[in-house]
């Protein structure tokens, strides 16, 4: 899990092997970033289960949804298959 703001990064690796990816097996990853009164936070989920929270280096810049894959060796053909991407945000208005 990574949050990075202005090149300052918080990177958490989950312990154990529970959340290791398996080849050709779908996984659902999610996060919810919340604007706080004093501290912002991001809650990370894997398969809809909360796996960790970051409260440092939560970016405030505008960002895009994105996905990328890069091969790690020269054997075979590597691919990332994406079923869906969903993004939503509260508009920031109050009445």
């Amino acid at each position: 899990m990574i949050t990075e703001s202005g090149d300052s990064e918080t990177d958490t690796t989950l312990s154990g092997t529970t959340y290791d990816l398996s080849d050709a097996t779908d996984v659902t990853v999610s996060f919810v970033a919340t604007k706080g009164t004093s501290t912002d936070n991001v809650r990370f989920y894997i398969n809809r289960t909360l796996v960790g929270t970051h409260a440092t280096n939560v970016p405030t810049a505008n960002m895009t949804q994105a996905a990328a894959e890069v091969s790690g060796n020269a054997t075979g053909t590597k691919s990332m298959s994406i079923d869906y991407i969903m993004v939503a945000q509260d508009r920031g208005v109050s009445y």
Binding site: I2, T3, E4, T17, Q65, A66, A74, M80, I82, R91
Partner: protein
């Protein structure tokens, strides 16, 4: 307040903890984007910016259940890849208590021999691996090799 009996992403529902405060249906106080990749051809002009190496590809699977996009590296080539991105329209709301939500479902063909990114970041150009060095980002990378810089 008791939980609702509705299992979807409805306000105060605990059945989908990731999305418990995400409204359903049309709700003008939230901006929402959903890519199910259900088309015939990925729209790399209006919907997505594709940044990839020359031998890599980004393409929708034909007749895949629910719709799927494949990001594929050139065969038998190390450090080759592809990426998709949109516009920088997402960010942490300015009002306390308000939220930014992200979710994606995907799979990797060779999980421990690939680098991957899925989340939100600033726009990047030129090469797909530049996504890994974006200055602002929120990303799930799970447990796999991440080679930074590549």
């Amino acid at each position: 307040m008791a939980n609702t009996h509705f299992s979807g992403p409805v306000l105060f529902s605990a059945a989908r903890p990731t999305l418990e405060n995400l409204n359903i249906g049309s709700w003008p106080d939230q901006t929402r984007f959903m890519a199910d990749f259900t088309g015939i051809v990925l729209d790399a002009t209006n919907d997505w910016t594709v940044v990839k190496d020359s031998g890599a590809s980004v393409a929708l699977q034909a007749d895949a259940l629910n719709g799927v996009v494949d990001l594929t590296s050139a065969a038998t080539t190390d450090n080759d890849g592809s990426s998709i991105q949109g516009n920088e329209i997402w960010g942490l709301p300015s009002t306390a208590g308000q939220k930014l939500y992200f979710e994606a479902r995907f799979q990797m063909s060779d999980a421990d021999q690939m680098d991957m990114f899925i989340g939100v970041c600033e726009n990047f150009a030129t090469a797909p691996e530049n996504i890994f060095t974006a200055s602002n980002r929120i990303v799930s990378k799970l447990m796999m090799e991440m080679r930074l810089p590549i």
